[in-house]
């Protein structure tokens, strides 16, 4: 529990020295008036603060930047070395018809365009839209980190795409296009096409290059997308750590961009990430702003992929998790349960509320706030991190005196399925692709298995069948495997 305080103490010190806006600790009031485009006029000496809000062409949603030093629409202005790096994709709109891409450039470059096509050759030859090649305009942001170093990042949202299709794309602007990257859209909503997603977390510190190695394994495991359970960096306001996160390499020719430029990375906020402006500006998730939600609505969100619903929660906001976030969760899961296209529900957040004798004890107040909602809507699996170990709970449904009630258990710790519904929710802690390993125990009644190993998880969903495979990120050997079929 002390490790988090390093981050918090440093961030707090920074807060005292630099003021809230510079650290990203304080977001704007999400319920406030719509921000004006471009940089706000600044008084001499006062920090410049800008936000930019727009609806990307063809997308049915609007995008708002966090308050940063500069923000604006793409302009064809190029700095001395405008090439894009830190390229990574995610979904802020429907996964079957859109993708969002974030990247970094030198601070002078404002061009934030995406050229995209299903025709790789046509795209390689193009310097603009035409024929099979299309173009989308994004936005750029300049922010300062804890060390007052400035970083220019870009973001664009591409919409109106076909399901289950690979799209090739290039970033930049006329005369300055990046190499060709590609990403793929999800199957149509409710389609029972099989898919695979990966789960990792707690890369902070990147010990043993475990972050890059895990990402190489995720690529080789053919994950269609990846969930990240928080704590990407030690100090969320330190941009050099984010730079490492987006560009880490395994020392053998693989860098994480090779995966993240094609495989959407869906992240939750960890206590170390601190919802810093760096985190918010460099990622794009659904901006479904709910009462008091921070980060322009990206603090928590959900998305669908095929026949599964994914809920991504922030458990660092003590003021909100039992109030507005719980209300949102209830609404979101009710809608998911009522949606005939949804067979599976997966939740990701950072701090486990089932974990055994590890560094952080289970967060019982979080358990009290959320488990009843998970139970009522039959969440299948919950992924967490924070304790840098691997742990799987027995199926759990219900609380008795604040303790989880162990539900009927089938083969190998899987829940029993009755009438298509699982007897309980399985809670996983699977994190530590870079953070120092902790110890863990199997002595708690709710724990099915536990290992102090750096793991990455892959989950195969094939219609009504689920298979979870847990492997050691360093050796790729099997650590755990389980699953079930919903009748």
């Amino acid at each position: 529990m002390v490790d988090k305080h390093i981050g918090r103490t440093l961030a707090f010190a920074a807060f005292l020295v630099l003021g809230c806006q510079e650290t990203g600790l304080v977001e704007e009031d999400a319920g406030g008036p719509p921000p004006a485009d471009g940089a706000a006029p600044s008084d001499a000496g006062a920090p410049v603060e800008a936000m930019h809000s727009y609806t990307p062409a063809g997308c049915g949603y609007s995008v708002t930047t966090p308050p940063v030093t500069e923000a604006g629409a793409s302009e064809d202005v190029f700095g001395p070395s405008p090439s894009a790096d830190h390229i990574h994709v995610s979904w802020a709109g429907p996964s079957h018809s859109s993708f969002a891409v974030n990247w970094r450039s030198d601070t002078g470059t404002l061009a934030s365009r995406v050229l995209y096509s299903t025709d790789r050759a046509a795209l390689s030859a193009a310097d603009g839209s035409g024929g099979a090649v299309f173009e989308q305009l994004g936005h750029h942001m300049l922010f300062r980190d804890l060390a007052r170093r400035t970083t220019r990042v870009h973001e664009a949202h591409v919409c109106g795409l076909s399901p289950s299709t690979e799209y090739f794309y290039r970033l930049g602007g006329p005369g300055h296009w990046s190499a060709v990257f590609s990403t793929a859209t999800a199957p149509s909503p409710g389609a029972s096409d099989a898919f695979t997603f990966a789960v990792t977390g707690d890369s902070r510190g990147n010990e043993e290059q475990a972050w890059a190695i895990s990402q190489r394994r995720v690529r080789d495991a053919l994950a269609d997308f990846e969930l990240f359970s928080g704590d990407a960096v030690i100090l969320g306001t330190a941009q050099d750590q984010w730079d490492d996160f987006w560009s880490a390499d395994d020392g053998a020719g693989f860098d994480v961009q090779q995966l993240l430029s094609s495989t959407p990375l869906m992240m939750v906020n960890g206590n170390h990430d601190a919802l810093a402006v760096n985190f918010v500006a460099q990622t794009a998730f659904a901006q479904d702003t709910f009462m008091n939600e921070r980060a322009q609505g990206e603090e928590w969100y959900s998305f669908d992929y095929g026949n599964a619903h994914f809920v991504m929660l922030d458990d660092n906001d003590r003021e909100l998790w039992g109030t507005s976030e719980a209300m949102w969760l209830e609404q979101d899961l009710s809608a998911a349960e009522a949606n005939p296209a949804v067979e599976w529900i997966f939740v990701t957040h950072h701090r486990p509320f089932y974990t055994c004798m590890s560094t952080h004890s289970p967060d019982t107040s979080l358990r009290a706030a959320w488990q009843e909602i998970f139970d009522r809507h039959h969440v299948d699996v919950v992924f967490t991190g924070h304790n840098h170990v691997y742990e799987r709970s027995r199926p759990i449904r219900g609380l008795s005196g604040g303790q989880g009630v162990i539900a009927a258990e089938g083969l190998n710790g899987a829940p029993v399925i009755t009438g298509g519904t699982a007897s309980g929710t399985v809670y996983l802690v699977a994190a530590g692709v870079g953070a120092p390993l902790y110890e863990v125990s199997t002595s708690c009644a709710t724990t099915y298995s536990a290992r102090a190993e750096r793991t990455y998880v892959t989950v195969r969903v094939n219609g009504r069948e689920l298979q979870v495979t847990v492997r050691n990120a360093m050796t790729d050997s099997m650590v755990d495997q389980f699953g079930w079929t919903k009748g």
Binding site: V2, D3, G251, P436, S477
Partner: protein, 321 residues
């Protein structure tokens, strides 16, 4: 819908479902072959996916997998097949016998990526299972392999050190890692942390024990001499209130800010209050600047020792040291 439109729609449907019906089995065949640790069958199936599903997400996957297989195709994929079989063996079935047998297979593998990756997998299991000298031999073979990358070499060096430490030779492990210049990394940090904890714990215990005994003895003497008046003077209400506030303030802040940290702060606060209360009464029995300075110095050491213990107990030191 006109007959022509209907037949066109039908033709389109046949085309769409027909092509996915053809490609779906190829993809499933490839994945099944991967699960069955049959890389040759997987390669043939991925080639079929790549050819049939041009432009789809499956095609992208097929390309990734074909590149992966090509980089590990030495010995006609036979070494890869045995590595894949080993890696999917459940953890509890990877016993010393199984791991030792596979280690034998690995040393007979032809030079290549598979042999390097196999060593990393089997050596880690040998180490976990306590076959320390065998694990060390495999890690050392890895270090001699020219095809091992920088990361794999570092992993092997860490492995040798972990084998030494598990065998009780902690300083030998640290020396080994420091041999080629400044060492770093998770294993090195963990070993140094263990040594620091082991070396420092007796000193912390001695400082705390000495201070508690000495201040108890001095405190009793002060009480014997001054009686209730001495206690009232040492623990005057304002002083006590200030001490409680200084000690409990952080605990309250912690409880408000992060319930998880509250236990640590409460332990620190309670311990600090007790040590301070002991010191203030003991101080009344010590005359002269030198004596009071010595008692104060010992009190500072005792507080540090207490903090050290509480932090160790909280587990949080793992990120500090």
């Amino acid at each position: 819908m006109s007959a022509r439109a209907a037949s066109f729609a039908l033709a389109l449907m046949c085309l769409v479902t027909g092509s996915s019906a053809r490609a779906q089995p190829a993809r499933e065949r490839a994945l099944a072959a991967e699960r069955a640790a049959d890389p040759a069958a997987a390669r043939a199936a991925w080639q079929a996916v790549a050819a049939e599903q041009h432009g789809s997400r499956d095609a992208a996957h097929a390309r990734t997998r074909l590149e992966w297989l090509a980089a590990r195709s030495e010995g006609d994929l036979a070494p890869l097949a045995s590595l894949m079989r080993y890696q999917v063996t459940p953890l509890e079935e990877r016993t010393i016998e199984v791991a030792s047998a596979f280690a034998q297979v690995v040393e007979e593998m032809p030079e290549g990526r598979v042999r390097v990756e196999s060593r990393a997998a089997v050596a880690d299991d040998l180490l976990r299972l306590g076959a320390l000298s065998h694990a060390r031999a495999v890690f050392e073979a890895q270090l001699r392999d020219g095809l091992a990358g920088e990361g794999e070499r570092r992993g092997a060096r860490d492995g040798v050190a972990r084998a030494l430490a598990r065998g009780g030779d902690e300083s030998g492990a640290l020396d080994y890692l420091e041999r080629d210049g400044p060492a770093a990394g998770g294993t090195y940090e963990a070993l140094r942390r263990e040594r620091l904890v082991r070396v420092s714990t007796p000193f912390a215990a001695a400082a705390l024990g000495l201070y508690v005994l000495l201040s108890l003895a001095l405190g009793l003497r002060a009480l014997a001499r001054g009686g209730a008046a001495a206690a009232r003077a040492a623990w005057a209400p304002q002083r006590a209130a200030a001490a409680v506030w200084i000690a409990l303030g952080p605990a309250l802040l912690a409880a408000w800010y992060d319930a998880e940290a509250a236990d640590t702060f409460l332990a620190l606060c309670a311990g600090t209050l007790i040590l301070t209360a002991l010191g203030s009464i003991a101080g009344r029995a010590v005359a002269g600047r030198a004596g009071r300075a010595a008692l104060s110095a010992l009190a500072v050491l005792a507080h540090l020792a207490l903090a050290w213990w509480v932090l160790l107990g909280s587990g949080g030191l793992v990120s500090f040291l």
